[in-house]
Amino acid sequence: MALPLKYNFANVIVRWRATLATVLGIALTVAVFVLVQALAEGIKKSSAATGDPRNVLVVRKGSTAESSSLVSREQLRTFQYYDEIARNERSEPVISADIIVLANLPRRDGKGEANVLFRGITARGVELRPQVNLVPGLDAQGNALASRWFTPGRREIVVSARLAKRFAHFRIGGSFKSGPATFHVVGWLDGGGSAYDSECWIDADEARSIFDRDMYSSFLIRPRDEASRSNLIARIEGDKRFQLRAESETEYYKKQTLTAKPIQWLGSFLAVAMSIGAVFAAMNTMYAAVGARTREVGTLRVLGFRRRTVLVSFLIEGALLAFIGGLIGCAISLPMNGYTTGTISMETFSETVFAFSITPALLTKGLVFAVLVGIVGTFLPAVRASRLPVIAALKSL
């Protein structure tokens, strides 16, 4: 029968001052781990949450992203009347042809510039993306203002509310120059936590004329139903004339992981690096504990408790200590949940915003990690405690 858990728990609490440094060290390690992974999670989440599963996105075969894809009007003319495509009330096929432009714009804090993704889009394109909605924005003075969509034919732009915080002149009523045109900001959009939160929408025809494009970037299509969807995809991809890639919009976005992976790797790497220090600190603390309790351990052995029980007891204590550190680490990282930040996406090469996403699974991982660190660090001291000869412990004065 093991020693009561209360024994371990009480020992950890009673010596809190001595163990503080170790607990904080573990807390910091877990916090860093959780935060960096939350960053990667946030990026993955915003990709995964993008798109309507009914839609099919068509881009040029071989292009790595919409922004480098080029599709032509001939291609559009060829398949726009395909049977598989849904029709709206006016019997028009539900297709949107978009133009992606990257515009280099100054940041709001004055610290340089970054590429922003403009999407030249039509009314149908807006309809095909129900997760994107207008939200109230702010004017230059900071007052709330209602948003509206751009008027076709005008050089108006609706910017992502999240991007508005990061770039100059993005307040409603503001304007900025890109290329030969001056754009007026008429509204803010909210992408519902998807990749659209990193875009600004303008009229497709205006985009074409301003940026001198005769090709589109992509087509977004609504098929009639499920069966039509797979048929459509097969039909478009199978046509040798086109060299196009067609897939479900949600699938396309889910595959955009280039940005998240290196961050995940970084997070794990950092955690391992820090855990070396944490393991040492735990080892130190537990050696101190064992040293302070040699007589106590000896007494337990006299009473009949086995070596292994002593070993396990100390391991539990170390794990408990680390667990508390892990809890603190999780607690201090939680406030960052939902905090938005941005970086350059490795897929589109434009500024992408996303929110730190701290999930219960991630917190659990952090806690498990902490406990592992505790156990690794406690192992040697626990072995030492278990090997203390019974009498030597009694002989101390």
Partner: protein, 226 residues
Amino acid sequence: MGATNVVEVRQLTKIYRQGEINVTALNLIDLDIAQGEFLVLMGPSGSGKSTLLHIIAGIDRPTSGECHVQGIDVADLSESRLADWRNQNVGFVFQTFNLIPVLTAHENVELPLLLTRLNRRQRRKQVETALELVGLGDRARHLPRQLSGGQEQRVAIARSIVTDPQLVVADEPTGNLDSHSAHDVLSILQSMSRQAGKTVIMVTHDPKAAAFGSRTVHLEKGELVD
């Protein structure tokens, strides 16, 4: 008082190495202890009295010779069997009390019972009985630091008898106590032997403490003298 011997020591020798030198702590000891005796081991420091006590109690091993306790040669038991044996058959009282500081009196006394198959209720009953016996039933929830030295030692005695062992060994149990508490503790030990029929072996160098025993044995330089 039964005539059976609880402890039979034959030619017991303990030699240990201190660096490069061999020190003979015990030299060919022969000793019998009958059930219900309150035996006192006396002698100057380094005489081997504590060593003898430790061997009988099963926390040290002799270099040669035999030590039978209730028919079992404790020198022969394996580490783990010895642990079990101690738990059931020996109660130990230390000079420095050795209570676990973070556990209450009740929990301290309960410790040896955690190694038995008794359930919670049964354990509680035995702990309460033991604490009553030493007169500390009302202090069950106190932590050691909330008890006086004498009270701590009494809790230790309760712990030493909670598994109802035949043997109770005490190594200078009054060394850290004032005379009043010492008296209480020694009376309890005495009643263990006289009323409960337990065999008590005590090491001390205080003649006043020795007076509580039923027999005194002297050791000098590892040998019995008389």
